[in-house]
């Protein structure tokens, strides 16, 4: 019966062949570590956010007079409303944790390199969409942090030359963040996730075309590739289990961990809280914004700090495979960059002040310097490695990959 049903479907839709091609016969490098789990986790979180968001939207009211109350209504009166809201609010932070780890893995192992540039760039678009969605979603509870966060960030567009004021007014639909702003943020917060789903499909189609990268950084021989199912379904599901244990620990036992105290005060357009901070996932970029004394300069620097990731395939000019594994200088740089981002995040969480400001400026300089010196460092590092004599294992890897291509002269 089931077989006849599948046969009936297969005549009309390539179900079996799709599963075969994309799962049971889809070849995946055997040596993927658990760092390769995070893309799957991001997909899971996207679904969780969409589902919990739809159910929250059934009770939420995007009106300046009702929004805050409706969130409390969800927390107190709706059956399991507290659970659904905490899943959604914790899910937002978890999404960024997972996506940032996913990006860090890509940077560490050099997975952005040819032929995976389009994966990296579609991921970049996903990050920006995710940030937009998170930013708009954060306004919806209509607490003090929500309000002043939106007020500050929309004001940034005022730095646009010539038409800044008009753009800010247009974005808000009001002279300050108001009812019109809240309503449109709600509409867009509901819309953007569907763009994200579309972009994720593009990301996955590209992935299945170029196949997964792997820690060695080269295309593996056939014997080292194994079908995705059952090997990686099992591995990913186990990873999901571990993730869910940690995630539920936050949801059930520390759900307010990611919620600022001031966001439990209803928005008050007449009074700014003494210390406003953005959500933790925006902190490094917020510091870069504040590090530059000029508004326009700050906005441009902040935008560049996100967009510059897209240039990685061009900035990294080394031909040594395996990302940071075989490249001591790149590896050191990677760790410095990670520490630098942590410092930026810490500075962002502090009130603006003399010393923290200086640290923020220094960390901003290091942030951009890491990207801008990469072309020279990566070239020099490759020459240095070759001059020293590559380890035989790496030499073998390198030969197997670079042989078919004409070798370019090192400058």
């Amino acid at each position: 019966m089931a077989q006849r049903l599948i046969a009936w479907i297969d005549q009309r839709f390539p179900l079996t062949s799709f599963i075969k091609r994309e799962l049971t016969d889809y070849l995946t490098p055997r040596n993927l570590s658990y760092w390769w789990n995070f893309g799957f986790l991001a997909g899971f979180l996207l679904m969780l956010q969409i589902i919990s968001g739809v159910f929250l939207a059934m009770h939420y009211k995007p009106d300046v007079n009702l929004a805050f109350d409706s969130v409390q209504h969800i927390m107190r009166e709706v059956n399991y409303g507290w659970l659904i809201r905490y899943l959604h609010s914790t899910g937002a932070s978890a999404f960024f944790v997972v996506v940032y780890i996913h990006m860090a893995r890509t940077l560490y192992y050099g997975s952005y390199r040819a032929p995976r540039e389009l994966m990296w760039w579609s991921g970049q678009v996903l990050l920006i969409l995710l940030m937009a969605s998170a930013f708009m979603g954060y306004l919806l509870p209509w607490g003090q942090m929500s309000y002043w966060g939106a007020q500050v960030i929309t004001s940034l567009f005022g730095a646009t030359p010539l038409i800044g004021d008009e753009i800010v007014l247009w974005l808000r639909g009001d002279f300050v963040v108001g009812d019109a702003t809240l309503n449109r943020f709600f509409a867009l917060h509901y819309l953007v996730p569907f763009f994200i789903v579309g972009m994720v499909i593009i990301h996955l189609v590209a992935l299945h075309h170029v196949k997964s990268s792997n820690p060695s950084g080269i295309n593996l021989a056939d014997k080292d590739n194994i079908p995705f199912h059952p090997y990686f379904t099992a591995k990913d599901l186990f990873g999901l289990g571990v993730f869910l244990i940690i995630f539920c620990g936050f949801v059930f036992f520390a759900p307010e961990f990611f919620i600022e105290a001031a966001n439990n005060i209803p928005a008050n357009p007449l009074q700014t809280p003494p210390h406003i901070v953005p959500e933790w996932y925006f902190l490094p970029f917020y510091t870069i914004l504040r590090a530059i004394p000029d508004t326009l300069g700050g906005v441009v620097a902040m935008g560049l700090s996100i967009l510059i990731f897209a240039a990685m395939p061009f900035l990294d000019r080394s031909r040594i495979p395996g990302g940071a594994r075989f490249r001591p200088f790149y590896r050191a740089m990677f760790y410095i960059f990670m520490v630098d981002v942590a410092v930026l995040a810490y500075v962002g969480s502090q009130p603006p002040g003399g010393l923290t400001f200086k640290i923020g400026v220094a960390a901003t300089v290091i942030y951009f310097a890491a990207f801008l010196t990469l072309p020279f460092l990566s070239r020099w590092e490759e020459r240095w490695l070759r001059a020293r004599g590559l380890p035989p294992a790496l030499q073998a890897l390198l030969d197997s990959e670079t042989e078919p291509k004409p070798r370019r002269e090192a400058r």
Partner: protein, 167 residues
């Protein structure tokens, strides 16, 4: 490895069945909060009772009050109406009038047609539903039309001679 293969296969199958069952049970359980969130919220479930002051309702008049969002008809029946209702057994869904009232002069019924939920309009003889023409008498019993049951009598009690509490 080779000699264990049969055993291994079996053990894996068993493991898969157990894990599959546990996993499906977990997914089903995880659905419940979401389904449950669409049920009436706590504040709706614990909505208040409605008090009706009967003193202003003249004989022959009807007052419509809201109880948990639903219309409730409170009818002050005349002696003639009481007598007529006591004699009739109703229509499709026969019920004695005494069983539908606590005090014969006060009829309290939920004003929602048992057919598809419209609010019937008051007539001399009872009610006429505007949607598909069901006819109810002055005891709220259905006489004609598609409505299957009599108008529902809500739970209520007399808090005083001229005051009832619905709910």
């Amino acid at each position: 490895m080779a000699e264990d293969e049969g055993v291994d296969e079996k053990r894996r199958d068993f493991l898969l069945t157990v894990t599959g069952t546990v996993g499906v049970a977990g997914i089903a359980a995880a659905c419940w909060p979401f389904i449950s969130s669409m049920n009436p919220t706590l504040d709706v479930q614990t909505q208040s009772n409605t008090e009706v002051d009967l003193s202003g309702v003249a004989a022959g008049a009807t007052r419509t009050v809201a109880w948990r969002g639903k219309p409730v008809f409170v009818v002050h029946r005349t002696p003639q109406q009481i007598a007529a209702m006591a004699q009739s057994a109703g229509g499709k869904d026969p019920a004695p009038d005494q069983a539908r009232v606590q005090e014969p002069q006060w009829l309290v019924v939920v004003g929602i047609c048992t057919h598809l939920g419209c609010v019937p309009n008051k007539t001399e003889e009872g009610w006429l539903c505007p949607c598909h023409g069901s006819v109810f008498d002055n005891s709220g019993r259905v006489l004609q039309g598609p409505a299957p049951r009599n108008l529902e009598v809500p739970p209520y009690h007399f808090a005083a001679t001229d005051k009832i509490v619905i709910g």
